[in-house]
């Protein structure tokens, strides 16, 4: 599936490609009110990746529903709307706005974008992530996917909190907070200083987080972070992901999403894997130094 923020709301993608080949289409983040996004510069190319500070530019949830939901309803592939709020209340309001809208199959909670105020803070706190998930889950019948940041001290704990509060699926990871410095100007390149690092550079981080989370929760995990080939997807599946998202690779290769699907199928065939489920989590059987993630229960953690 597409990673949020890397294929718009699907109209341009569907004009170029057969969108129905995707397992799902995940939209660019939608907020309650229209957002202009951040000023330039918005992107910096970095070794094996990029930093972005787009700032969730979007026309607001009502407008997106009006313009795009009828289009999505005509697709065979399910559409997952990524929603971003600055408070739990906003997540609830977004979920309520999208509840029952034909063409919307699920919500992905963006509690991990580093480029707007508060969103990343929610994703780094067990309590706040749980509250945002609960607010959304109570406001809609739609399945809730929590998209999480690798910046949290214990990403697997955040995942558990989200699942405990109603998330049906976990998506990991969003971009990694990073920075670029302009040596001549002696200041950060991006206006907000920090940006979100994506691309092949973050793949090892994403694999580690998926691996940890797969041990911490029993719900499906969508792997995301630096995937640009079928082999990358295979690695995520082996780490414990049930599905994968392709993001930044689509900027470099307009055909990346479909290439990953084709290459994944070819890899499975070449390795005599008749059911992709046979490799999901297979790398988990080996003892590693990854710390046992089942620490104290979330409730105790919150109380302490």
């Amino acid at each position: 599936m597409s990673a949020s923020g890397t294929s718009g709301v699907g109209d341009d993608f569907a004009r170029q490609h057969n969108v129905n080949r995707l397992g799902a289409f995940v939209t660019k983040a939608v907020t309650l009110r229209r957002r202009q996004g951040n000023p330039q510069p918005r992107t910096v190319e970095t070794p094996a990746g990029m930093l972005n500070s787009i700032g969730l530019q979007n026309p607001g949830v009502e407008r997106v529903i009006a313009d795009m939901a009828p289009v999505w309803a005509g697709w065979e592939t399910p559409v997952i709307v990524n929603v971003a709020g600055e408070t739990a209340g906003e997540f609830g309001a977004l979920a309520a706005a999208l509840d029952g809208v034909p063409g919307v199959a699920a919500l992905e909670l963006n509690i991990s974008c580093p480029n707007v105020n508060n969103v990343l803070d929610i994703g780094q706190s067990v309590l706040a992530a749980g509250r945002a998930t609960r607010a959304a889950a109570r406001a809609t019948e739609l399945p809730i996917i929590a998209k999480l940041t690798p910046a949290a001290q214990e990403p697997a704990q955040i995942a558990r909190a989200c699942v405990d509060e109603g998330a049906a699926v976990i998506c990991a990871i969003n971009t990694v907070p990073g920075m670029a410095i302009d040596a001549e100007a002696r200041r950060p390149v991006l206006t907000r200083g920090m940006g979100g690092l994506s691309g092949p550079a973050i793949k090892p981080i994403a694999l580690r987080v998926v691996y940890e989370m797969a041990r911490a929760v029993s719900v499906p995990i969508i792997g995301c972070g630096g995937i640009r080939s079928g082999l990358d997807a295979v690695e995520f599946l082996m780490a414990g992901a049930t599905a994968v998202q392709v993001g930044t690779a689509s900027f470099a290769n307009p055909h990346a999403l479909l290439d990953v699907i084709d290459e994944l199928e070819a890899w499975l065939e070449a390795h005599d894997v008749s059911d992709v489920r046979d490799i999901i989590g297979c790398a988990q059987q080996f003892e590693t130094d990854v710390p046992a993630p089942l620490l104290e229960p979330v409730e105790q953690h919150a109380a302490g």
Binding site: Q16, P41, E45, A252
Partner: protein
Amino acid sequence: MIRERAAVLSNEPSHEGGIALWLDAPALAAAGHEPGQFVMVHCAPEGGEPMFARAFSIHRRDEGRIALLYAVTGHGTGWLAERRRGDVLSLYGPLGKGFRLPDGAGNLLLVAGGVGVAPMVDLAETALARGHQVTAMMGARTASQLLPADAWPSAVEYVVATEDGTRGLHGRVTEHLDEYVAWSSRLYACGPTPMFAALADALRDNGRRQRPEILMEETMPCGWGLCYGCAIETRHGVRLCCKDGPRFNLFDVF
């Protein structure tokens, strides 16, 4: 969008600060494009860095071939400048919204600065073929940085200005617009941001009738509206250079 692997036919400097790259790109050429549209060219070995393709407007076209005109400004274009005949480049396009030519025959004034001259030659050729009259103005710091006159179709009136006075009019091109603007019915420009700002100042009082269109540039990781990186602030809100542009109305931006 066409994706094509195109062989380099030639890749030679046309003037100081401009390299003309001719590509054998039959699929792209057959698809057709509007002047001002662009292609994304990977400026690295396959899978190498820079990871993202670079945007280049189409400079010329000729039976299965297209030409780009570029300046070396970084790693990507530096790598591109080292390509030789027979090397194969991976590219996709045409992308974006090109210039809008008037329906009836018109007097078109083209204003170019720096490597912004690239799409103007394609615009001039297209406009002439559609029956328009074309005057092209180009400004540069010095004579060697001007696109040579023989790179333009012979029917184009080519007016140049140099800041050091080594050729043509003395000063910036935007200081010599008056008589040409008065003649023109439409105006098109491509160049650096300060040129657009000067152009807006020069045309604010007597150039609105020409509805000046400009071709903007912004860093474009994807080129087709996916990444939202290339935002441009306009009077109508934030627009994406790659998808809503790169052609904008001058007075919507400046």
